[in-house]
Symmetry: C3
Subunit: 153 residues, 3 copies
């Protein structure tokens, strides 16, 4: 199904560190946020990353590249249980979805750890024929993640 493909392409883009392509998964007026389950459930608007447009995502990538922090780790996304939230489906769009994710980090010395686990709470619509994220909220099970600079998840 096309929507599963969106998540697949998204995961491969991040895992290949092709961050310059990352904003293209979003609509121009998108909303993107990484937050904790605790803050999400409390309705707090805070976030490790908070963006309200595709341009802000592009700025984020530029900042990450310029920061140039030498962290030669690799990330691997496992995504499963992608689910269309039925009662939120409009006719025919946008579509609301949730999915579970796990991100494994491998350090250069070979140490592998769970970097983050949680769920995506997303809204997508077609944009010039392609499904894009209108809104993507990354809800981490933990309150924090171990990173110097917040990276896209």
């Amino acid at each position: 199904m096309e929507l599963e493909q969106l998540y697949t392409d998204y995961a491969h883009c991040l895992d290949a560190d092709e961050l310059e392509r990352w904003p293209d998964f979003f609509t121009e007026d998108c909303f993107y946020r990484i937050t904790s389950a605790e803050n999400y459930e409390a309705g707090l608007p805070l976030g490790l990353i908070y963006a309200t447009s595709r341009n802000m995502l592009k700025d984020r990538v530029r900042a990450l590249r310029e920061a140039n922090i030498y962290e030669p780790q690799r990330y691997r996304h496992l995504v499963s249980s992608i689910k269309v939230v039925e009662d939120a489906v409009r006719d025919p769009e946008p579509v609301d979805l949730v999915a579970n994710f796990l991100v494994v980090r491998t350090m250069q010395d070979g140490e592998m750890t769970i970097f983050g686990a949680g769920r995506y709470v997303d809204r997508v619509r077609r944009d010039a024929g392609n499904w894009k994220f209108v809104s993507k909220t990354v809800v981490l099970d933990s309150r924090q993640i171990d990173t110097l600079l917040a990276i896209p998840i």
Copy 2:
């Protein structure tokens, strides 16, 4: 496919801690068991949880809620490799399936660990239009799991 959806809904139910909805994934005369691969292969009937009806699952949830052990961790299920066991398909039901799972636990201090890994060995049939588990055996790769009170997986 509808059967994948069953596993997706099941995972989200548990991860959202909506345990009161959990028995609804089963038929009234269901069988549910959590056991180790070691015991499973040896044909031992023991289990961390052992239930032979939906009512027993409801009792289990009630016990879990009443025990009220303060363990503010979160669980995240990753399910993949869902497979219909071809030679066990009846016409048209029930259907036998296996699937791999991984459960990640996040503690309140942010520590993330692998809580359990293993496979589901399941039988499903339609019950009033919805696919339900007639039988679900959670076969853990490890002999034990680190928890005070056995929770649904």
Copy 3:
């Protein structure tokens, strides 16, 4: 989809330690290799396992069985984000695919660790009606894996 099924069957074969069936997932003239992302990106032909035919895979299994190293651990594969590489699709075959994997290892004392994470870079074609791997490259995110004798992934 049939190609997802191939990955599902492959994972269950390895997790059940049915290694004698493992070569059957490949064509007779297959290529199989386990390597690190670092070596893969550098174009180095090295690998933890390197085989250029199904017979070499059979030899590998025989060697593993004869070595008979007593490591009573269990492995569990989680595979997700299976993706057909569109620009590489021939008409109608072979088909190029990538997928993400995570392998969790459970030791006999119950300790669970991430054994390996990375991606499959594969080519498949139909062989007497069944999809088989013409080529399978296991690209590990880490430079090494913790094992005495390299096992199939």
